[in-house]
Structures are given as structure tokens and as C-alpha cells.
């Protein structure tokens, strides 16, 4: 093993050093704080590409190398580099590098310029540490650090009250999920006697974990992932987190931190697989992963349809795409999940940075309704945005070639198609994904249309818009290039993620093999079925994407008004005529449509029912339903999170009334509980104790109340 592989953990240590240096030097640091993180991440990128190459050539890399440890207690810090990990390292380093470069332009003139870079650096470090660790202790520590840095970064512009609210909300919501992960880690330690992943997986493979316990452990881990990866019902924080600076949204809320949840499930999948009894669905952890993931994929994409803030569209889209990754993992398609994670990181980062570029270019306008026609003013941003959008939609020619999202999303959908769940379940899961894909194409088209195409809706914004500086456009171009071509590396990637003798795949596979699902004939049949499914999925997806894009173009070609009208007056008959034939017309046309509609021209009925039924049906119901689900989100899910905090507070208010301030009450309670405790323990009953305690407290309170009453009289 060569030196560079042996000390791969330094990839995570370098940004920590950069963080410390920038924090100490402040504005005096090179590049006012930007250059050190850039250097650290650039080294990290090269280093991790080197690691990928080593793995590709079949070299053995460190597995569970010990850095720090407590003898027999099983608490230690160790790291490993396997195929998936190396790919993740490359992704995190390179995306972070580009985003840090980009931030130089975005944060120009900010009062806390260097502090921002320090935060970004520490954030990258903790994310890299999370990926590198082979031990749940270090994983958990990095997990929490990532959360904390996210809190600080979302609230970076704390003078904005929304930002202050949003960062608190993000922190608290993800902490709710962390409750699960804490319990799972503790339970896992208790069951396996160690926190070392390799040992745990060996134990799991040997059947050392009884199923109910493994199920609850898996669900605990998954709860953490649900929080961090913004899955239903804990997704509420992510859209609000958009109050942070856009590079933060790109780095944390698109590419890395939210992917940490997916990566956690990926990393610990053998624990999930240990419960993979597809006949006993309620106790099959992967089923829940698939169900939540699939549902989120659809649910979030429907919400994205009605957002007007460009970053919020992307936020909902991110939630939806994370749902796809979970769906793939839940269908045991580990590679598909990770592959989609990697491709998504690049094109979503590109989209967010593009949105940021738009925001800077238009001098802080985020409402898409005020944009339009920006392609003229911002050509680089526009083209990179379009490429990334196409990648996100999964555009490609079936069987020939496609953008990165084409390969990864089809892999996910194919996995859902051939999943081992009973028929109806598999269909539902696949359906979630497929309809979600259609909506994805629709809303992204809408986004591009409203932002870049159509004619300018706000002359002032349009006139003052300009292309952003070089340091912002270059990262866009690089990311777009990867979004364009990243999928072609899929095969190589699959090779070294799956073929690498990593413990993870091995133990999961051996587990599956042991349970008799992978005899040769079965395997062959499975491969054939998969191939067919892949073909089928490719074709259906292609159709869906075309439908979605077409629908989007059709609805939004003339700006948002028509869709609004559609949403407001859904039953009016002749709208379709307008949409199908005259969609390139502007406000005047919309007014005319209303006139036409009002007179109910009979001729329109044919077109209405035949041609535009789909547009009307899907468009209207989507918009409507999604307004509801957004409202549900806002009023129900949010309130539950808040209620949790307030319930504790309310109980506290009641209990603090017992603190009356009277020293006599204190002494009486002290002596009374002493006597009651002695009696109860000797009588041997806890309930007697509880009862006596209650009587004492009530007596003391009543006595005090009587006293107060007497004094006031």
C-alpha cells in the first residue's frame, strides 16, 4: 500500500487546517480567506481521483485503519476507502472546490467574507470525514458536525429573520431524526459490542442480529437519514433552508449534506438487508426505505410545480431526487442509488449555482415571475442551466446515448421495476418514480421557461441583468460538462464500486446468497429480466420526459399567467384550444382566451376533449393537489415539529409552579419524601412510593395554596 492511500484521511484533515488558519488570520488570510480552502480542496480532489484510479486498477486500499482508540471498549476512530467511498470523496471534493471558487464572486463585499470560507471549509471537512470513517462513532460525530455547520451556514445572514428562523428549523428538524440515529447507534453497540462497521457486518452476515432488533436499528438509522436527506415527513426544513447564501444551498442542500442520509443507508445497508424478508413487509426495513423514498420522489416533485421562487423549485426538486436515491436503495439496487447520488450532485450543484448566478445577475431577484428572457443577458448561465436541466430530467435517446441523469435515473427506475416486492407494491413504487419523472420534466421545463425563455416580464430587472464574473461562470461550465458526460462513466463506476472487494457488498451479497436467492439459473433469469426492464423503462421514461417537457413548454411558453388561469378557472372549457394552438401568444392572448371561454364556442369541444384533455387534467389536478399538499406541509407537518418543542415547554411551565419560593414547602417536601421513600421501600412497592410522593406534593401544594389564600385575605 502506498503512502498516499495509507494517509487518505488527510483529505479530511486538510480542510480542517484551512478552517483553523482562516479563522485565525481572518481577512488577512490569502485571498481574504478563499485561497486556503481552495488549495485544500484542490489537493483533495486530485488525491481522491488518484484513489479512484488505484481502486480501478484493483489495488487494496486501507480498510478500517485505526487512528485513535480506546482499548477494549470499541470506541475508536478509523477510516477506510472503498469504491463507493472513493467516488464520494471525488464528488465532495470537486463540487466543494467549484463552489468555493464560485463563492468568491457570490459573496463579494459581504461583511463576513472570510468567515464564510472558514465555515465552508469545516463543513467540507466534516462531510469528508463522514465518508471516510469506518466506524459509527466517527460517522456520528461528523454527522452532527455537518448538521451544526449547516445551522451556521443557513443562518449566515442572520440579520434576515427568515434565515434565523430557517436555521433553527433545520437544526431542530434534523435533530428529531438524530434521535433515531442515536438510539440505533447505542442499540447497535449493545447488540454487536462494537461500533466498527466491518465487525458489525460480519456479525450481521453470520446472522448475529435477531430480526426485530435489526429492524428497529435499521429504522433508527433510516430516521436519521430521513431527517438529513429531507424525506417525507421531515422534508420541511429544506425549502426554508434556501434563505442561506446560494453557494451554501448548492453545496449543502443539493450535493453533499442531504446526500449524507442516503450515504448512511448505503453504508449500513447490510443491517437493512438483514431484515429483507419480502413476505413480511411491515418488518422489512428496505420496504420502508423504498416506500418513503418513492413517495417523497412523487410528493416533492408535485410541490415543485407551483413554486415561484427559483431556489425553492430546486429545493423541492432536490427532495424529490433524494427520494429516488432512497427508492433505489430500498429496492436493494445499491449501485443505482449511489450512481444517482453522484450524478445528481453535479447537475443539481450546477442548477443551484446557475440560480445563484441569476440572482446575482439580476441583483437579488428570486421570483421567477419577475424574470424571463434572461437567456439573452446571461448566455453562459442559460446554457449550463439548460444542460443541467436536461440531465436532471434524464434526457437521452434510449439505447444510444444520454446525459448523466438519463443513465442514473433509468437505473433507479429499472431497479424499482424489478424489485422483489409483491406485484402491486412493485407497481406502485415504480409508478411513483415514473410519474415523478414526468413531473420533474414538467417543472424543470417550467423553470427554464419562466426564467430564461419567454419575454421579460419585469423590464427593470431585465435591463439591469448582466452575466456574472468569470469566477462564477467557470464552475458552471465545468459542472455542466460533468452533468453532460458523467453518465458515460457509469459502467466503469459500477465496475469499481461493485467489484471492489469491499466488505460492504461482499457481506450483503453473501447474505443474500445464503438465503438462497442467487442460484445460477435464478441469476441468469434475473439478469435477463433486468435487461428487459431496463429497455422498457428507458422507453417509458423517454415518453414521460417528452410529455413533461412538452406539457411544460405548452403551458408556460407565454409566461405563467396561463397556468394561473388554469388553476383558477379549471372547468372552463375552451382553455385547451388556446393552449394547443396559440401558446406562443402573450397577455393579449390570455385576455382573448377568457373572452372565448366566456362565449363557449362550440367548436372547441372536440379539441378540448381529444387533444388537451391531458394538459387540462394533469395540469389542473397537479397544480391543485400540490397547493393542498404544500398547505398540508406548511400547516400540519411544521406544526408537529413546533408542537414538540412547545409540549416540553408547556410541561415545564406547569412544573415550575411547584417552585413556590417558600423555604417551608421545600423542607416539607424534602422531609416528606424521605419518610415516604423509607416507608414505600420497606413496604416494597413502587406504587406506594409514587402514591405517597404524590400525596406529599399535593399536600404541600394545597397547604401552600391555603396559606397564600389566608395571607391575601
Amino acid at each position: 500500500m502506498d503512502l498516499l492511500s495509507q494517509h487518505a484521511y488527510l483529505i479530511a484533515v486538510l480542510p480542517v487546517l484551512a478552517f483553523g488558519a482562516v479563522l485565525l488570520l481572518g481577512q488577512k488570510a490569502p485571498g481574504r480567506g478563499a485561497y486556503l480552502p481552495i488549495a485544500a480542496l484542490a489537493i483533495g480532489t486530485v488525491w481522491s481521483i488518484y484513489l479512484c484510479a488505484r481502486i480501478h486498477s484493483g489495488a487494496a486500499l486501507p480498510q478500517g485503519r485505526l487512528l485513535w482508540g480506546v482499548g477494549s471498549t470499541g470506541f475508536y476512530i478509523s477510516f477506510l476507502v472503498d469504491g463507493g467511498g472513493a467516488a464520494m470523496l471525488t464528488m465532495v471534493c470537486s463540487v466543494a472546490l467549484l463552489i468555493v471558487i464560485y463563492s468568491q464572486g457570490y459573496m463579494r463585499g459581504d461583511a463576513h467574507y472570510s468567515r464564510f470560507f472558514a465555515y465552508l471549509s469545516l463543513f467540507s471537512a466534516s462531510m469528508l470525514g463522514f465518508v471516510l470513517s469506518s466506524n459509527l462513532l466517527l460517522m456520528f460525530i461528523c454527522w452532527e458536525l455537518v448538521g451544526l455547520m449547516s445551522y451556521l451556514l443557513i443562518g449566515f445572514w442572520f440579520h434576515k429573520p427568515e434565515a434565523a428562523r430557517a436555521c433553527k428549523k433545520a437544526f431542530m428538524t434534523t435533530r428529531l431524526g438524530d434521535l433515531g440515529i442515536t438510539l440505533a447507534v447505542v442499540a447497535l453497540y449493545h447488540e454487536a459490542g462494537t461500533l466498527d462497521l466491518r465487525v458489525i457486518f460480519e456479525k450481521v452476515a453470520a446472522g448475529g442480529l435477531d430480526t426485530p432488533m435489526a429492524f428497529w436499528i435499521a429504522m433508527g438509522l433510516f430516521a436519521g437519514a430521513v431527517g438529513k436527506s429531507a424525506q417525507f415527513p421531515l422534508h420541511v426544513w429544506l425549502p426554508d433552508a434556501m434563505e442561506g447564501p446560494t453557494p451554501v444551498s448548492a453545496l449543502i442542500h443539493a450535493a453533499t449534506m442531504v446526500a449524507a442520509g442516503v450515504f448512511l443507508v448505503w453504508r449500513t445497508f447490510p443491517v437493512f438487508a438483514a431484515t429483507a424478508d419480502y413476505a413480511l413487509m411491515p418488518y422489512c426495513a428496505p420496504f420502508w426505505v423504498a416506500l418513503i423514498g418513492g413517495f417523497t420522489a412523487l410528493f416533492a416533485s408535485t410541490m415543485a410545480v407551483v413554486q415561484d421562487d427559483i431556489k425553492r423549485v430546486l429545493a423541492y426538486s432536490t427532495i424529490s431526487q433524494l427520494g429516488y436515491m432512497m427508492l433505489a436503495l430500498g429496492c436493494s439496487a445499491l449501485f443505482a442509488g449511489l450512481f444517482h447520488l453522484l450524478t445528481h450532485a453535479f447537475f443539481k450543484a450546477c442548477l443551484f449555482l446557475g440560480a445563484g448566478s441569476v440572482i446575482i445577475g439580476t441583483h437579488h431577484v428570486q421570483d421567477m415571475r419577475k424574470m424571463g428572457g434572461l437567456r439573452v443577458k446571461m448566455p453562459v448561465t442559460f446554457w449550463t442551466f439548460v444542460i443541467a436541466t436536461a440531465a436532471l430530467c434524464g434526457l437521452g435517446i434510449p439505447g444510444v446515448v444520454g446525459l448523466s441523469g438519463f443513465y442514473s435515473k433509468d437505473a433507479v427506475l429499472a431497479a424499482a421495476k424489478v424489485a422483489e416486492y409483491p406485484g402491486e407494491v412493485a407497481v406502485v413504487l415504480y409508478g411513483f418514480g415514473q410519474v415523478g419523472a414526468l413531473l420533474t420534466a414538467f417543472y424543470m421545463t417550467r423553470c427554464v421557461m419562466l426564467t430564461f425563455m419567454t419575454s421579460p416580464r419585469d423590464a427593470h430587472v431585465f435591463e439591469h441583468a448582466s452575466e456574472t464574473p468569470r469566477c462564477m461562470t467557470v464552475p458552471l461550465v465545468v459542472l455542466a460538462a460533468v452533468a453532460l458526460s458523467g453518465g458515460w462513466a457509469g459502467h466503469a463506476l459500477q465496475g469499481f464500486v461493485e467489484d471492489h472487494p469491499g466488505y460492504r457488498i461482499e457481506s450483503a451479497e453473501s447474505w443474500l446468497a445464503e438465503h438462497g436467492q442467487a442460484t445460477a439459473a435464478l441469476e441468469e433469469a434475473q439478469a435477463r429480466a433486468e435487461h428487459q426492464a431496463h429497455r422498457f423503462v428507458e422507453l417509458v421514461s423517454f415518453g414521460c420526459i417528452l410529455a413533461g417537457v412538452g406539457l411544460g413548454v405548452a403551458l408556460y411558453r407565454g409566461g405563467p399567467e396561463r397556468a394561473d388561469a388554469l388553476a383558477r378557472k379549471p372547468v372552463l372549457a375552451l382553455l385547451h384550444l388556446v393552449l394547443v394552438n396559440k401558446y406562443y401568444l402573450d397577455h393579449a392572448w390570455a385576455a382573448f382566451v377568457r373572452v372565448v371561454v366566456r362565449f363557449e364556442i362550440a367548436l372547441a369541444f372536440v379539441d378540448y376533449w381529444v387533444v388537451d384533455g391531458i394538459v387540462r387534467g394533469v395540469g389542473w389536478s397537479t397544480l391543485r393537489v400540490m397547493r393542498w399538499s404544500w398547505a398540508f406541509d406548511k400547516w400540519v407537518v411544521d406544526k408537529v415539529v413546533e408542537a414538540f418543542a412547545w409540549a416540553a415547554g408547556g410541561l415545564g411551565e406547569v412544573l415550575r409552579q411547584t417552585q413556590t419560593g417558600s423555604v417551608h414547602v421545600y423542607m416539607t417536601v424534602t422531609a416528606g419524601v424521605a419518610v415516604a421513600g423509607v416507608l414505600a421501600t420497606i413496604l416494597g412497592s413502587v406504587w406506594v412510593f409514587a402514591g405517597l410522593f404524590g400525596v406529599c406534593v399535593l399536600g404541600a401544594a394545597g397547604w401552600h395554596a391555603a396559606l397564600v389564600g389566608r395571607r391575601t385575605v
Binding site: 417552585q659 413556590t660 419560593g661 417558600s662 423555604v663 417551608h664 423542607m667 416539607t668 396559606l707
Partner: protein, 118 residues
């Protein structure tokens, strides 16, 4: 309670045993506890506290006296000496606090002192 009444009456004629001392100490402790819990005046509480500590001392000396080796081990007596020392220190500190509070608030009533609560 009936089980004891005859026993008690009978025992009054007997020489004093360990249990007589213990019951006496328990009663004294109870009286002190009652005083601590009911006195409004902080000096009164302090006096009742002294009663409780005296009850403890009575216990200790009685246990020593009736114990297995009053010749060898003087633990009980030593303990009692220390308890008396502590009682003196506690009384001094307690009275100092009470007097300082009296200077400020013109009251020695413990139940009127409740600025801090909640």
C-alpha cells in the same frame, strides 16, 4: 399498635435498654422536625434544628454504650463530639445569615423571604 402497648408498659419497670434510648431519640428528632417545618421564625427553625442534632447524638451515644465493644471502639462518642462541633459551626453561620438578612429586610421570618421562585 396494640401489639406494643402492653410491652411498653411492662418495659417501663425494666432496666433501661437500648430500645428505650432509641425511642426517646426518635421522638426528640420528630419534635425537632415538626419545629423545623412549622416555625416561621428562622431563629425558631434553628432551635428546632439543634433538637434534631441532639437526637442524633443521643442515638450515637446510646449505640456506643449498648454496642458490642464500648471498651475497644469509641466511634460513637467520637462521632458525637464531631456532631456537637458541627452544630456549633452551623449555629454560628446560621445566625450570621439570619442577622444579616434581618438588617436588610427587618424580618427573621423565613416564609417572607421569597423573592426567588419559579
Amino acid at each position: 399498635m396494640g401489639f406494643m402497648l402492653g410491652d411498653i408498659l411492662e418495659s417501663l419497670g425494666q432496666p433501661v435498654g437500648l430500645r428505650h434510648c432509641l425511642v426517646f431519640a426518635a421522638l426528640l428528632f420528630a419534635v425537632g422536625l415538626y419545629g423545623v417545618l412549622t416555625r416561621r421564625n428562622a431563629i425558631g427553625i434553628l432551635m428546632a434544628l439543634e433538637l434534631m442534632l441532639n437526637a442524633v447524638n443521643a442515638n450515637l451515644v446510646a449505640f456506643w454504650r449498648y454496642g458490642p465493644g464500648p471498651r475497644e471502639a469509641l466511634n460513637g462518642q467520637v462521632f458525637a463530639v464531631f456532631v456537637i462541633t458541627m452544630a456549633a459551626a452551623e449555629a454560628a453561620v446560621g445566625l450570621a445569615i439570619i442577622l444579616a438578612l434581618f438588617r436588610l429586610r427587618r424580618t427573621v421570618n423565613a416564609d417572607e423571604v421569597n423573592l426567588l421562585k419559579g
